[in-house]
Symmetry: D2
Subunit: 131 residues, 4 copies
Amino acid sequence: MTQTLFNLPMTVRDYECDMQGIVNNAVYQNYLEHARHEFLLSKGLDFSELTSRGVIVVVIRAELDYKQPLRSGDSFLVSVATRQVSRLKLTFDQQIRKQPDGELMLEAQITATSLNARNRPYFPEELKVLL
Amino acid sequence: MTQTLFNLPMTVRDYECDMQGIVNNAVYQNYLEHARHEFLLSKGLDFSELTSRGVIVVVIRAELDYKQPLRSGDSFLVSVATRQVSRLKLTFDQQIRKQPDGELMLEAQITATSLNARNRPYFPEELKVLL
Amino acid sequence: MTQTLFNLPMTVRDYECDMQGIVNNAVYQNYLEHARHEFLLSKGLDFSELTSRGVIVVVIRAELDYKQPLRSGDSFLVSVATRQVSRLKLTFDQQIRKQPDGELMLEAQITATSLNARNRPYFPEELKVLL
Amino acid sequence: MTQTLFNLPMTVRDYECDMQGIVNNAVYQNYLEHARHEFLLSKGLDFSELTSRGVIVVVIRAELDYKQPLRSGDSFLVSVATRQVSRLKLTFDQQIRKQPDGELMLEAQITATSLNARNRPYFPEELKVLL
C-alpha cells in the first residue's frame, strides 16, 4: 500500500545495548526518529529549522512491533514510507531490517501532526512534500 | 477493566528534553520500563537478577498515545496494570499523569513475553505473581 | 576546601546499564547534570527558564574519576559544591556515593561559564547566588 | 606526541540535542566510546565479545574539554590515539572535529584499565595491539 521512500543505513553502537546485551527498546524510537528527520532533510525540510521557526511537529501515536533484537555490531536499514491518515495527521510506516540479509527486526507506525502557536493541530502547507 | 497495581512518582530531568523543550518521544519508553521494573521489584522479581539467571523478558509490542508533552520541572506518576492476553503474553497497561493535577500525558500498552535458552517464547512460572 | 551545598538522592534505572551490567560511563554525566540543575532550583534558578531568557550556561571542562561502578538497584547520593575558579568560571565539585554505606563511586569537577548573545563568556549577576 | 590511529565520521542526531539546541554534554562520551569501540574492531578486538569472555575493560578517568558545541545537522570526525600511561593503564587521546572545516569541538583523554575475575586491574595481553 505504502511505498518506501527512504532508507537510512545505521549501525548499533555498544552504549545502546542494555544488560541483556541487546539494543534497549527505547533506542529503536531514536533510530526511527533519526531516519524520519533524515527523510525530511532529503525533502528539503530541516527539523531543527522548522522548530526554530515555530513549526512544531509532534508524534501523537507510536506502534512498534519488536520482531528480533539488534545486537552489538549489527548493521541495519531504517525505511520510511508515508501515508496521510486524516486531514491533520500523517503516518510514517517504518521498518528496521538487518543487513546484509534483510531480516525484519522491527515494524512501526508513527503518527504525527503539527501544532500551531496556540497549541492547536494543523497541517502546514510545507509538509505536503512528505506525501 | 484492568486495575492499577503500582504507581511510581518521577520528575523530568533536563537532559531528557530535546530542542523543542519537551521530553523526547523515546524517553517515555524509559519511564515506562523503569516503572515496570520497579513494579516487578515490588512483587519480589528483580529484572537484573532474572536476566543473569537466563530468564529473558522481552517487549514484543509497544503502543504509545502521546496526549500532552512533559516539560522541564514536571513531576508525574507512572502507573502499571497487567493483563494476560494469551498463554504466553502479558500486557502492561500504563499511564503517565502529571502531578499534582493528574492530567493524562501518555497512555501505553506494552506487551511482553519470555524467551527460553533456545530463543523460544514461554511463560515462566515465577512471572505469574505479576497478574 | 569546598563544602557540600546540596545532595540529591537517586536510584539506578535498568536502561542506564550497558552490556557489562553496570551503569554506562556517559550516564554519570546525566546524573551530575541533573543534580546541578536541582541545586540551581534550590537556589531559585531554573535552568530551563534561564535558557529561554537567553542565559546560556555551558560546561567547558569535565573531569571524572570512576572509582567503582554503579549497578542495577543501587541507590546513591549526588553531591554538589561550588568554587569560583576565575572571573568567568565556576567549578562544581561533585561526588557520587552509594547508599547506605556512602562508598565513593565517582568524583568529578565540572567547570561552567555563561555565553552572552554574541557567544562571548560572561558571568551573569544572578549566578552569584550559587557561590 | 601521540599519533592519530583512527578516525570515525559521525553526524549529530536530533534526539542528541537538548533544550539549548546543542548536543548535550553527556552525549559526547557516547561519541567517544563508539569511536573507541570501532577502533578496537579495526584492530580485531570486539568489545562485546571481550565482555562476554570476561575481559572487562573499564574507564577509570575521563577529561573532556568542550571547545564549541555541535548542533543539529553537523558532521564530524572522532579521532583516536593511544598512549600507555602505566603498566596497567591505557589513555585514549581523542578529538572531535567538525567537518568539513576541521574546527576543534572537543578534546578528551580517556584512561582505561581491565579488571580480572576478582575485580583487580590487569593489562590483558590481547590489548597490546591497541598501542
